[in-house]
Structure formats: structure tokens, C-alpha cells
């Protein structure tokens, strides 16, 4: 197992670089930066086209909700895959467990619907 040594060297180097370099950068930035923070700097386009509407306007949050719901339910199906593979060996017990799992998912699904997460308005 000592062949892992190289792994840990990598790991340590990665940690050192990751943990310390950015801080050094930040500190040096804080110290050295010349503060010319004018309004334009924070515009989406620093030059040219002035923006038409404020970026932080009320936006359509529905997409986010759908994305979250999809993410969750999509990933939960990952648990059905191994069960499907080993279906015969697991037998009836596996079936029951799978259905319990589905039922729990179903409750979540009902919840999502009832909260109107999927109602397209």
C-alpha cells in the first residue's frame, strides 16, 4: 500500500497550492490594487452599450424550480438501476424494498405537485 505515497504527495501539493496560493493572491491584491472602482466597472459591458434594464429585475423563478425537481428525481432513479440488475437474486424482498423506495419518492412527488412546483403559469 505504500505505493500510495505518490498519491499523497500529489494530494499535499494540491492542498498547499489550493489552500495557500489564492490567499496570497487575495492579500497581495488587497494590498497592491489601485482602487479605481467606478460605476462602469460593474456594468456588464464596461464599454459601449449601456444596459437597457436592471439585471436584478424580477425574473422567472420557475425554471430553477423545475431544474431542482428534475435533478432530484433524476438522481433518485440511480438507486433503481442496481436493483434492476440484481433483480432475480434479490427476489421478493428486493421488490418490496424497491416499492417502499418508490413510495417515498412518490410522497415527495405529491408534495412537489401540491406545492405547485410543476404548475406552468
Amino acid at each position: 500500500m505504500e505505493s500510495y505515497l505518490v498519491l499523497f504527495l500529489f494530494f499535499l501539493i494540491a492542498l498547499v497550492v489550493a489552500g495557500l496560493v489564492p490567499n496570497i493572491n487575495l492579500i497581495t491584491n488587497k494590498l497592491l490594487k489601485i482602487d479605481r472602482s467606478v460605476k462602469e466597472k460593474y456594468e456588464p459591458y464596461e464599454c459601449g452599450i449601456p444596459k437597457i434594464y436592471p439585471l436584478n429585475r424580477r425574473y422567472f423563478a420557475f425554471f430553477y424550480v423545475v431544474a431542482l425537481v428534475f435533478l432530484l428525481f433524476d438522481l433518485e432513479t440511480v438507486f433503481l438501476f442496481p436493483w434492476a440488475v440484481a433483480f432475480r437474486d434479490l427476489g421478493i424482498l428486493g421488490l418490496v424494498e424497491a416499492f417502499i423506495f418508490i413510495a417515498i419518492l412518490l410522497i415527495g412527488f405529491l408534495y412537489a405537485i401540491a406545492k405547485g412546483a410543476l404548475k406552468w403559469e
Partner: protein, 430 residues
Amino acid sequence: MNLNLELMLPEGFLLISALLMMVIDLVISDRQKNSFFSNLSIVVIAITMLLTSGTVSMESNLAFNGFIRKDLMVVLSQLLLLISGIFAVLLSHNYIEKFSLKYKGEYYYTLLFALLGGMLLVAANEFSTLFVSLEVMSISVYILVALFKDDYRGKEAALKYFIMGSVGAAILVYGFAILYGLTGVTTYDGVSELVNKNGVTLALLFSIALVAVAFLFKTGAVPFHAWVPDVYHGAPTPVTAFMGAVVKVASFVAFLRLFFPVFVSFAKNWTPAIELVAVVTMFAGALLALNQNNLKRMLAYSAVSHTGVILAAFVTVPALASFVVLFYLFVYVFVTLAAFGMLSLLTTKGLKGESAEDWGGLYKKSPFLALSAVVIFMSLAGIPPFAGFWAKFYLLTALLREGFITLALAVVLSSLMSLYFYLNHLSMPS
């Protein structure tokens, strides 16, 4: 296949009733939700406590093919968790009445899920079980912290807690991955057996370090403590009480149960690190608390320094350590709940007792609160004859018996320092 499902009765009941609460939440009208759900969850927790105390047994039993282990320590800590859960629910009720919360049902069953995660966490006997239950608890707590609407502080706290917590979890998984690589199994028993067979290797030390860091982070030890004050401060006070009690107890017990069965034979390798962290934590917490004007933050820092004190017990031999730590936690949990409960009581009474000035002549406003404040702070500071003293006393005697005299001195000194700011808050003239 031996899944002793009857051992899992309490957890199963808690899970099912929480799920049912999800469904009920959809049909019930919003008006009576708060009181209904608070009463319901108290009943549920009470029944769970009954079932849990039903599983008490002197020898340790395995369930789910050894993925879950239940012995006396586990059951005791589970009961402790449930009791603190009840207190948290009681605190939450008034708080929610005062600051209107849109998602009442969600609040309560998320709290139950967090409890479930804690119960599984202390009972876990296998890596993935530990990880999943830890995450169940943590994610539920993130939600609880962020749940109140238009409450910026809560959201910011939740974000910080979330990011830090995920990093901690990732580090934990990485450590587990290396351990799995070393042994090829993931149950504590298998791992400890194989690890002891292979003896100490660099990879092993490495994984121990990673796992230890993850738990030190969860328990809020310096230098992994940075999230504690912000999150405790930002969260709604009942949630803070819940975190201070449940999350801390669960993490500490899981820490004990992972390190003492599995890594005890390499104690001489990891105790120095724990020792150092413990001492640093005690003093850093006390020093940071000195300048706090905000009582909630002050309590958070004092929680940090208490973590250090508890960690100090980890260097003693297993039996003693688990006894001392459990006793300390028993005392500490109730004092913490009382302290934060007092805060939320003040806030719900509109006295908004967070900043120290609000404490001037609290005696006039409500003598009972003032007296209990005296008792609580004295107990936190560990002044006899209050409970906190006896917890510290056990710890000190344990340390002395094992010959860690410097650690004992550190504990005494740090509690001496902490005394100062407790008294400062007590004696604010009106």
C-alpha cells in the same frame, strides 16, 4: 441476512411519521398548523423516546448486516437527542407565533428529519451509513436555518454553513475512500480488524487525519470553527438551540464511536493532534468571547471553547473517555438549551435580549429570567455547586488519573477566563 428490524423500530417510526406529516401538511389548513404540528411532533418524539428506551440492552446488537450497532451508549445518546428535540420544538412554537413563518409544517418535519439523521448518526457502524445519516442531519439543518422568509441573516448563515459543511463532508468521504482502499470493506468491524492487521501505514495516518478533520469541523473546533459564530448568530434562535444541542451531541458521539473502536490502536499517533486542537480551541473560544457584545455570538464562542474542553477528554483511555464525554454532553446539552431558550424567550417577549445592554436590570423586567440566567451562566462557567462544575470535575479527575496534568491546567484556566465574560453579562447595571 440479519436485519434486526425490531431494533430499528424507533427510527422507522420517526421516519414514517415525518413522511406522514409531509402528507398531512398538504391537506391541513394553514391557520392551526403551528400548534397542531408542534403538538404532533412532540407526541411523535415522545413515542419515539418510548420505543428507544424499549431497545435498551446491556450487550450491543447489530442490525442491517452490521451497518447499525445499538448498545447502551447509543441508546442513551439517542434519548438525549430526542429530549433536546422536544425542547427545540417547544421553543420553536412561540418563536413561529411571533415571527410569522410561511412553511410551518416543513419546519417541524424537517426538524424531525434532522433528529432522525442524528439518531442514525450515533448508531452508524459503517461508513456509507455514517455519511448518509450525517448528511440527512446537516441538510435538514441547512433548511431549518434558511427557512424563515425575508430573514437575511438566516439565509447568509445557511449559505456559509452549507458551503463549509459540504467541504467537510467531502473531506470525510475522501478519508473513507482511502480507508476503503486500504481494507476493501466499509464496516467498522472489518476495517478495524484489517487495519490492525496491516499495522500503521502512511495512507492510514492520512485517512485518519482526514476523518478527524471532518469530525473536528462538525464539532466546531479551532481552526475549523469559523462557521460556528456566524451560523449560531444568524440562525433563528430555536434552530440555534437545536444545533447547539443535537448536532453537537451527534457529532461528538459519532466521533467517539468511530475513533475508539477502529483507530484506538493508533491512539499514540492521533492523540497529540487532538490534544493540540483541544487546547487551542479552549483558549481561542474564550478569548474570542471576551469582546462579544452580542449575547448570541458570545454563547456561540463559549460553545467553541466547551468543544475544546470536551475534546480534551478524547486523549484518555476509551472507557473513561466515552463516559466523561457522554456525561459532559448530558450536562452541556441542557445548559445550552436553557441558554438559547432564554434568548428566544427574551426575543419572543420583545425584550430582544441579544445585545448586552438589554440585560441591564433584567431583574426588574422579569426576575425569574434573571435568576435562571444567573444559574445558567454559573453552570456554563463551571462554578460549583452547579451541574457544569461536576461535568468539568469528572473531566479533570479523568485527565489527572491519566496523567495529563497540563491539559487539566488548561481546562481550569480556560474556564477561569470564560468566567469573566459570563459575569460581565450577568452584572449589567440598569
